[in-house]
Subunit: 152 residues, 2 copies
C-alpha cells in the first residue's frame, strides 16, 4: 500500500477501508466500560427505546472509524498528528451485525507557515453501513509529513 | 443528582465530572483494539516519538469524555439523543497516570419547530488533565426532553 507524503496528496482523491463487522458482544462490552446506558447494554431495554433495539455508543462508532482510518486503500497519508474533527454527525445508529465501511476524500491541503516539513490536510470522512446509510460523518484534519528534500 | 428538562437548562450553567484515572494498561488495551500505532501500544517506540512517551488514542480520549458526560454534577440533562460534535480539538496528549476532569457549560438552547416534546442544547465541553491542560475540547449538541405538560 502506498503511504503518501503531503506533496503527493491530491485533492479529491478517495480512499476506503472495511468492512468492519460489529458484533452484539462488542457493542455491549464497549458500552459497559464507557457508555452504560440501557439501550447500549441491555437488549430488552433497548427494544423499548426509540431505536427499537441495541445500538452502539457514539464513542464506539468513533473508535471504529479511527480503527479503519489507518487501513485505507489504495493509499494512506504519512500522518504526523491529528489536529481535530469538525461537523461530526451520527445520522443513523450502528446495530449488531452491521458491516461498516469507511470512505475518505481529501477536501483541502495547505502548507504550514511555521514548519517546512509538514502540511495540513482536511479529509471528508463517511462511515456507512451495509445499506449505505451514513452512521458517522465528519471532517478530520491532520498534519502530514512533506517529502524530505534531498541534500545536494 | 438533579436531571433537568430542557425548560430548566439555563445557558451558562456549569456541570463537572471526574476525575477519571487513566492507566498505562488501559491505554495499551484500547489502542491494541482500535488504534494500534507504536506510540499508543509500545512504550519503547513511544519514547522515540514526538510525544516522548506513551499517549492515549484520540478515540480513547473521546470515549473517556463520553463516559464522564453521563455522570456530571450537580445536574445532568434528560438527553433523548446526541446530534453531533463540532470543533473537536485535542490540544495536549493523554498519558498514563493522568487524572481527567470534565467541564460542561450550556452554550445555547433552542426549541425545535417539529416536536414540542424536545429542544436542542449546545454544550461547550472541556476535558482537562491534572495540570489543567485541555486534552479534548468540543461543542456537543443534544436533544433534551421538555417537561411534560400536565393534562387538565
Amino acid at each position: 500500500m502506498a503511504i503518501l507524503y503531503f506533496d503527493e496528496a491530491e485533492v479529491g482523491r478517495l480512499r476506503t477501508a472495511g468492512p468492519y463487522q460489529v458484533s452484539k458482544d462488542e457493542i455491549i462490552e464497549f458500552a459497559k466500560k464507557f457508555d452504560p446506558q440501557p439501550f447500549h447494554v441491555d437488549e430488552e431495554a433497548a427494544a423499548r427505546s426509540v431505536f427499537a433495539g441495541l445500538t452502539a455508543s457514539s464513542a464506539h462508532t468513533f473508535a471504529i472509524l479511527i480503527s479503519l482510518l489507518s487501513k485505507t486503500q489504495p493509499f494512506s497519508l504519512r500522518v504526523m498528528a491529528g489536529l481535530g474533527f469538525d461537523e461530526l454527525r451520527l445520522p443513523a445508529p450502528v446495530r449488531p451485525g452491521d458491516e461498516l465501511g469507511l470512505e475518505v476524500a481529501i477536501l483541502e491541503k495547505r502548507e504550514t507557515k511555521s514548519h517546512s516539513d509538514r502540511g495540513v490536510v482536511r479529509n471528508q470522512i463517511h462511515l456507512r453501513n451495509q445499506k449505505r446509510e451514513i452512521v458517522l460523518q465528519c471532517i478530520g484534519t491532520v498534519l502530514v509529513a512533506r517529502r524530505p528534500v534531498a541534500s545536494s
